[in-house]
Subunit: 223 residues, 2 copies
DNA sequence: CGACTTGTTGACACTGCTCAAGATACGTGG
DNA sequence: CCACGTATCTTGAGCAGTGTCAACAAGTCG
């Protein structure tokens, strides 16, 4: 698969630009290799050489880092269509794991490097993906200075939006994943979600299934 | 290029370390327009159209956002050599202000768009600058889940490194700026810094001048 | 059905915030 | 150069929100 010519890469990338939010990015996946990962399987490790770029096809992925005191911080969650593995230098800052059984497209960065050198559109696509990730990282940092209630509200609203649904959605990740993403404990996440259920803001048919009942109440907490 | 030669630019630099670290990026500044901003002057506003890209020549710049509850969150600090104003779309996510009297090179993004289309090297530079900013944003997010002590230690070490000095440096920003960057109150920043002084980890000839006495003590707190 | 993982709830401790006052540094005009 | 007013920084006391530790409940898989 990696023997695909760079011309093919360019064709895929240029023909699909700007169809939908992720349409252009799917061009990347189309020239990659589909890989399946089981729940909790490692896709790449912290400090490992960043040889590939990835795009989620199905399932969900999380990136994380273990801090000096042993705590785990989630860098981001990636859902179908999302690109991950972009790094400043040639080594990963975070480890990446499949949250549930997932399919991920991977493509060698080397192919991009060769192609992007003479393909302005491909360059722009990669730059654009990086800027999108930058915006997400900045938003993540903003989240971490809010109160527990505000963090959870913002998280639920974001997951709702990314799910493409309007009212209810399934969380692929555990409470522990959410806690490590929001920089709080699993107990506080649980208590906060329960409080939203108690006051009727959301309903919880099951722990992983969220039904938003009062969108306005959550939005009022979202900065 | 430009009425302002790179020699003039270099003369304005307060830190040679910043120059070498970002030497490649100075190609960008050399084709821009030098602008002077007074202390606390706004360089661009939140939600404003992102018409220019900027590089600090001398002084220091902060970006910030006002949250729903009125609190201010600092996005990042920029020192001589640093590029700022990169955005995912065409609107700024943060406002930018001069921390002290500063000189900033600005260049119209339109010029980049035209040039980058046929200049692979320039494309790479811009992409690289974005990836560098992404890495900084991710590191910032990690900071915000640490204890007050750890945040301040990490902040001081980072400012030391960026200053290009090995032991002592001047902080261009106020305690309030630091507090809003680290997601804590000015009182806690002050208390934490004082505690470091009390236990001999640092010395404080003045509030804005930091002397690192025990590098190891700070590094032990830095994840 | 039983073992294990994941999620919920409770009691208490502690970090960092709030509110308040005082100290120091800084800029400006006389 | 000094005096005053203002902005910045430090320090203190009490409190609120979140973490810690522990027990229990629910869900999941073999």
């Amino acid at each position: 698969m990696h023997t695909l010519s760079s011309i093919t890469v360019a064709q895929h990338l240029t023909s699909r630009a700007a169809l939908s939010r992720h349409a252009d990015a799917f061009g990347i996946a189309n020239v990659g290799t589909p890989m399946r990962y089981a729940r909790n399987a490692e896709i790449y490790g912290d400090e490992e050489e960043a040889e590939y770029l990835y795009q989620v096809v199905s399932g969900a992925v999380r990136t994380h880092k273990i801090l000096a005191d042993g705590r785990r911080q989630i860098g981001d969650f990636y859902l179908p269509g999302d690109i991950f593995g972009l790094e400043f230098d040639d080594h990963h800052e975070f480890s990446a794991e499949a949250i549930c059984n997932s399919t991920v497209m991977s493509i060698k960065r080397q192919v991009f490097r060769e192609t992007a050198g003479h393909d302005a559109r491909l360059s722009r696509e990669l730059w654009s993906a990086t800027k999108r990730q930058l915006k997400r990282a900045e938003k993540h940092a903003l989240l971490l200075v809010l109160t527990a209630q505000e963090r959870v509200a913002a998280f639920l609203l974001e997951m709702l939006e990314r799910s493409g649904k309007t009212d209810s959605f399934e969380l692929p990740m555990s409470r522990q994943d959410i806690a490590d993403y929001l920089g709080m404990t699993i107990e506080t996440v649980s208590r906060t979600v329960t409080a939203f259920e108690t006051d009727g803001t959301i309903a919880l048919p099951s722990a992983r299934c969220i039904v938003i009942r009062k969108h306005q109440a959550l939005r009022a907490l979202d900065s």
